[in-house]
Subunit: 366 residues, 4 copies
């Protein structure tokens, strides 16, 4: 177990919030893949903080440096290493947290796991900042998938209790997803979006925070991806999604609602459409028996409210063994959901590319 | 990607529903672990079909044969191989399914993935029958965990729209979980249980099926398990849970409900209790930053209704390229949830043992 | 670490010499590969004991049972499981070895590693018998490679100090290798072969044993296989070869002799031949920078003499802490080299197929 | 397959000879391990070029930057990332090599594998320069092993045909190994050492190169390391050793010579010594059945002569399809063996630490 993920495509993540840099190494990409730095920057910008009152005021441009694996704008076949320097660190904000774990954070559990040696500043390796290299790798994967006719897009389904309609996935078009990609606050229903943003600003004023749910769709994926028994599409995707800080629930297709349907409702009937097998409904979210069926993949990712809040909270002092009141300083997101959208999409792109590489690898022999 | 799972503990699953046998190989267990065959049989019996009208009438006693790795009732350090012979097969029931994929099943997707070479009889390797060896391995893992003071138990939280109360996890006792282990239809509220069973029998009569949600709790687990970035407890567990046929949603602690809370509600405050750090509430389900905090782990697993139903359904004939009406013969569960309970617990036991082996492995050096 | 090997093709080996059966699970083969049972039997027969005075008198026909993954003679895409029952066991021969480790064997080290819980009968999982399933998997791999134009063959280069000429690899033809495959005692020089066999029979009479070296060549392999930095062809092959009981040395091309050459001798010059780049000499054994160059792969594998000998040896009694004289009963090979030939070839076939699957997997994107 | 190695300890290597930097990520080290930067620098200095006429004149101080995983001089539990900038690059020397592969080098095979997209400058990722991060990781591993009472040391057994005596391993003391560690040209016999150096200088003058053999010993390692079937100590070690550029042969204990012994000679008899089981001889190099027996581990690694030589060589032009004469410019080692010594030791330290982590990980349960 480690900060390495993937079977065919291997991602090795490193870095801590207040160390010199964060970054990652990518193994498994074949040589000759074009690396589009502009597109990577666009994706990183979607995740970057400091753009509005909806996010933390930490300013990190997230400029990346290519260390290896790219020559004349194409992959060389060698491992790709990317570095993103940490710049706007306020390490002194974290000095008093050394002995007082923040509720809802990894401070306490990391301290136990690492015998107190973990870098506690800014959450160390548990910082949401580590998702930046994930977005970077995801941008490369998205670009490759895009060349294969695959489109990935998401909307904010809910913030706190404000919720808009879910995707009508059987009729979803790539244009809708691309449109959402371009929005700062991606929703299908503008009015609901305004209400959601209001919830975030209210939480900010109250020195509190809110959570939400992101719904994601993937169009154009081939049938036949996914590897039973243990590497169903759901398993691969959920594994990566639950690595994203703050994620506490994942469902595919109609998910938990499916548990309340009858089989006769839930089963997606097959029919022919232009020589292709399709289904009328898409309750299963494009995945049957853990394998893609060629219909849109849909899934929902639930984020808890950001644990860092300005309000006073009860905690303990691990050194003095006392109970204490904690007021967290530092700069934090009142809601992580907005910035999490490209991270969720990156996870999807990486999981699907890994599965696609497996599928294609098997075909040459038969 | 393959039918091999695990980092420290490695499970290699094999078999198809209508082949000679199913089974698994376990690598990574140290030598000297006692193998309790009686306990394994008890766990297999919890999953076995044919016990009542609530399940399929396929009769499989699931007797296992030890092929390797056990000598004088203890592990030898060599890989353990177990075999479970397939006995009550009605392969002829599946002949007509060869070209007509059952809606909601893996028939279509498996055919695409395996170029038509997959063993379609009884769902082949996609059969729920493959969960029997998982329960076998889970029984070994549960026994080891039990020796470390860990108790795992589950109740059926809902069937169709009938739902009982969730665990009150901060006050949950091992006795409650052990009591649930012993029930044929494990619920906390007997009346709700009767209503749930009624729903299943109704579905059976209507030649239909229903789904449901299983809630599971793990007590007595140490703080400090889980491995960031990619092997959070949630990631490891969800990966295995989403491998179980029929699972479409997984959430930890308050899961999707957390997305509607404020940070000030959702954060579990710390306090001291008998020299140990505990939390008042347990919204996070015992996992913070992907690592156990020593509180009960809780999670919910959503199952879709069994796709095999007697009612007529729309499908396609892949050979003739026509649209057809399909009536599935054979013996099927009107609801998979009851038999899935020990499978979910097996997944939890395996994931946690793997994480525990990692934790202990790191400690010798420091 | 475990009894699982491979990256794209995964082999999971199990079994102990005196348990019910030995066998293996193969993951990663695509669906639709024809399984030629007759060819597998031929390969198993090459390794089987009891054929002449040159080998042990243990009679094991090594009949295999297909447990999963094959339907209508083709792979289904599911894991393949094969079982070989242990029949001619004389477990009582091993009772006194429980506390007295045989020199040169794994008895002592296995006891330490497994805290005394290992199955000591017949060497348990350390028995050369475990190479039978390896040969079985190798037969499948060899057949697939053969379909890609690849031929693998070996000769016994030396037994004790009797040594024949090595392959003249640049001019080697597939017919020579196929001819060697068909021989019971594969040598290039018949006279030398007779001297070698004489050495083995002498050792047998003296209740002693001899070792030897196997040289193997692979023709028809594509250029471009092998994965730097850590998965050079040499690394992959040597890893598997050093898993075979009794192997203590491996060299590629001219190996240790290369260390005595000058660069101007050792470098294989390039030239054009029928539009293909070839080399005049093949000192590097077809591998440059860890990657195949399209020339024949050649390597030599050194086996120590069988440690089981009838002569009296000094050992210790672990229970009584005394020094003792040990005379090993039981049936043993006076020389393992003859039966090891198909095992070495199986290792080569598996390693190369794994590398070939990696190579082909990368090509679809570019 | 990838530039990632290890089971418990995972090394992810990256970088190319003429890119901005080379480096590696280490996963799996527990938190709290002290990082001794001075010792790392000492080890890097042993490998660094430019120290005498025996090596290349490329000047690389190999200063490393810690990017992550270290806080207050101790590991934090997060992945460690180290960077070594490339400074003294003469990329123009390689322009003409683009189409003309150097005999004995990876140029041709890399071009085939990577469809011509590989960074050919300085050998790209095939450069011996990539062994610098390996030495860095090895220094950390050596330091940890040293804390466990393990000493690793090597001597140059031969250069070209000049060969000194091998270790007399049963009587070898840690002091001898530590003494060798401190030598610029580590040999046991000073006179032989002078003859070896003379061979290197002669080759240099002739614009040629020579190879040699390194013999390594590891003292103080516990009995019980190594994991059958596929992860014997020999397999793990050989895998890493054959990743080092230029290695073409590896043997353990008496290696190839064992193939000429009788069993009665080759078997290392057991006896008691101060309550410990030891062997009189150590022909097996401290490894029986793939597992350490507590005696010194010994192995020999054969290096071919450096392929880069100044003399004219025959090659081909891949663009024009002509045969050409090639004279390699640039700065090269007349013999790689001297600088390879710390690399071989790093490989041993990493392999043994990985195995030791596995051994200790199993013990907590029993």
């Amino acid at each position: 177990m480690s900060s390495i993920w993937g079977d065919y495509l291997k991602i090795s993540l490193f870095g801590e919030s207040h160390g010199p840099a964060i970054g990652l190494v990518i193994n498994g990409l074949p040589a000759g893949v074009e690396i589009d730095e502009e597109y990577i920057n666009l994706e990183l910008a979607r995740r970057a903080p400091g753009k509005s009152l909806l996010t933390t005021s930490r300013q990190e441009k997230d400029e990346f440096e290519i260390i290896s694996g790219v020559f004349q704008n194409h992959t060389t076949g060698a491992p790709l290493c990317f570095l993103i320097r940490n710049k706007d660190k306020h390490s002194q904000d974290y000095e008093e947290l050394k002995d007082i774990p923040r509720p809802g954070h990894a401070d306490y559990t990391a301290g136990v796991k690492y015998f107190g040696f973990n870098d506690y500043r800014g959450g160390g390796m548990f910082s949401g900042r580590l998702t930046a290299p994930l977005v970077l790798a995801g941008a490369i994967a998205k670009k490759i998938l895009s060349g294969q006719g695959v489109t990935i897009g998401s909307h904010i389904l809910s913030i706190a209790e404000v919720r808009e309609e879910a995707f009508d996935s059987p009729s979803l078009s790539p244009d809708v997803l691309l449109g959402l990609n371009a929005l700062d606050f991606p929703v299908l229903n503008e009015e609901k979006g305004i209400l959601m943003q209001k919830k975030i600003l209210e939480a900010r004023e109250e020195q509190d925070s809110v959570g939400g749910v992101v719904e994601t769709a993937v169009l154009g994926i081939k049938a036949g991806l996914g590897a039973p028994f243990f590497d169903s599409v759901e398993s691969k995707l959920a594994h990566l999604l639950f690595s994203i800080p703050g994620v506490k629930g994942v469902e595919f297709g109609d998910g938990f609602s499916l548990s309340q349907m009858k089989g006769s409702q839930a089963n997606d009937s097959f029919r022919w459409q232009e020589g292709r097998v399709v289904t009328d409904t898409n309750h299963c979210g494009g995945i049957q028996g853990g394998i893609t069926n060629g219909m849109p993949i849909t899934f929902k990712t639930a984020f808890k409210p950001t644990p860092s809040i300005g309000r006073a909270q009860k905690s303990v002092n691990l050194a003095t063994k006392q109970e204490v009141e904690l007021k967290i300083k530092g700069r934090h997101d009142p809601c992580i959901v907005v910035r999490a959208v490209p991270v969720v999409e990156a996870a999807a792109a990486l999981a699907l590319l890994d599965l696609l590489m497996e599928k294609e690898s098997g075909s040459w022999l038969v």
